[in-house]
């Protein structure tokens, strides 16, 4: 019995083949094997949300999911979602509101916020707080993060875009 399993998945649009131990959780696989350092490793118990990534279109905890479970799945990380523009207005809004601080929680916050903005376009400020309560910010900066998400919800409701803080090249 070999303890290694062969897996194939799509990560940020690219096909990845690997041979891994079943105990390897997804965020370790992404960080250590694929060198995608955007998803962070925090508590490894599902409490902090720093490891949030998307699997088959849904946000999940990368520490509570095995890489072997992602066999055949489509995985997206902050790197891929930044590149394809999915998070552009949220990222602009986070910059405008200074909602990044140390940045450790930011990738998870952005992914959680993106799912909220997509699925609950009419969310109230209170619902925003509840939704992101699963993502710890150790800089105690929730207020500006909530502001940034609410700005995006309001802008989208009006069909507007968050204007960039810095001009893009």
């Amino acid at each position: 019995m070999s303890l290694k399993k062969k897996i194939t998945m799509t990560v940020n649009g690219l096909t990845v083949n690997a041979e891994i131990e079943p105990r390897r959780h997804l965020v370790d696989f992404l960080r250590e094997d694929l060198h995608l350092k955007g998803p962070h490793l925090g508590c490894e118990q599902g409490a902090c949300g720093a490891c949030t990534v998307k699997v088959d279109g849904q946000i999940i905890r990368g520490c509570l999911y095995l890489a072997v479970q992602a066999d055949g799945c489509e995985v997206e990380t902050i790197e891929g979602l930044t590149k394809n523009g999915t998070l552009a207005d949220l990222q602009e809004s986070f910059m405008r509101r200074n909602a990044m601080q140390c940045g450790f929680c930011s990738s998870g916050m952005l992914l959680a916020a993106a799912e909220l903005v997509e699925q609950r376009p009419h969310a109230s400020r209170e619902e925003v707080r509840e939704w992101i309560s699963g993502n710890y910010c150790r800089c105690t900066g929730y207020h500006s993060i909530v502001d940034a998400i609410v700005d995006v919800l309001e802008a989208r409701a009006k069909g507007e875009k968050i204007k960039p803080v810095v001009a893009h090249a």
């Binding site: 019995m1 079943p22 490894e44 118990q45 849904q58 946000i59 479970q69 509840e130």
Partner: protein, 285 residues
């Protein structure tokens, strides 16, 4: 921390999963959403020899309506319950309870059946299934059997599932037009485990409640029903006085267990707080 090494299998049929489970014995663990299991593996509180991933098994999936029974497959995720129109219409208690379960990233994977089979006394679904008089459908090497939620939750993290059995689905009688319900839990942070929680269900005619099911969770080794309080309230006009008597009865009859931060006295107090709020909510509905 990292999990200890284990093997992994992903059967495609229920019979295959039961076979693997019987073969591997007590060293095997089933994994569905894995939202509790993975945390315990990472902490090495659990060191199984093999994980049997049941997420490919179609028999365990889906929410469907048959006559006056709503069938919820074991693999249905919390998010599917959150977003289901069938649930909103026929089991509205679940709809109001689901936002209390952890956070969306966890609800996207965690399952109905996993929560029930794990039997965590702080979890929402065991309490709801008890309040809604659910029936568990179980498959094992000897075939299928059914057991009521009342008999399913045996003790702390212990259900009547045998080591080689799998929870397939749950059947819930659909809500009647007179059914009223209340769900709330008190937690330090939204999505954390409840310090105490309540799931109340009753039939309502005017200000009279009947068929009462007052269930509390995170207060004992299993979800518990306040049977004396139910009997008091059943069939009488729900006055302030009756609510006070029911609160006293519930506090008296439920022997709460302390947890790491909250005493048994605190929990018994909170049972009363939740029941009072709940009954007032039902009265105002």
């Amino acid at each position: 921390m990292k999990a200890a090494a284990f093997d992994y299998a992903k059967p495609k049929a229920l019979s295959e999963a039961i076979g693997l489970l019987s073969e591997a014995g007590e060293d095997a663990r089933l994994i569905a959403g894995g939202q509790t299991l993975l945390a315990t593996l990472n902490l090495r509180l659990s060191e199984p020899s093999v994980l049997i991933d049941i997420t490919n098994i179609d028999e365990l999936k889906g929410i469907s309506l048959t006559g006056n029974q709503l069938r919820i497959g074991a693999l249905v995720t919390h998010t599917e319950i959150e977003d289901s129109e069938l649930i909103a219409k026929h089991a509205p208690l679940l709809k109001v309870a689901v936002p209390h379960i952890a956070h969306r990233a966890i609800r996207n994977l965690g399952t109905w059946g996993g929560s029930l089979a794990y039997g965590d006394p702080a979890a929402e679904w065991p309490a709801c299934s008890l309040a809604l008089n659910a029936t568990m459908l179980i498959a094992g090497p000897a075939g299928e059997r059914r057991i009521s939620a009342q008999d399913f939750f045996v003790d702390l993290y212990t259900t009547s599932l045998e080591p080689d059995e799998i929870l397939v689905a749950t059947e819930i009688p659909i809500a009647t037009s007179n059914q009223v319900f209340y769900f709330h839990e008190l937690a330090r942070r939204h999505g954390d485990y409840a310090i105490a929680g309540a799931a109340l269900v009753a039939e309502k005619q005017g200000n009279v409640l009947s068929e009462c099911a007052f269930t509390f969770f995170s207060v004992g080794a299993t979800p518990v029903m306040a049977k004396k309080a139910q009997a008091l309230v059943n069939g009488r006009p729900l006055t302030g006085e009756l609510i006070a008597s029911a609160v006293a009865a519930a506090r008296d009859e439920i022997e709460a267990m302390a947890d790491i931060t909250n005493s048994a006295e605190t929990k018994e107090h909170l049972i009363g707080v939740l029941l009072e709020r709940g009954l007032k909510h039902l009265l105002a509905e």
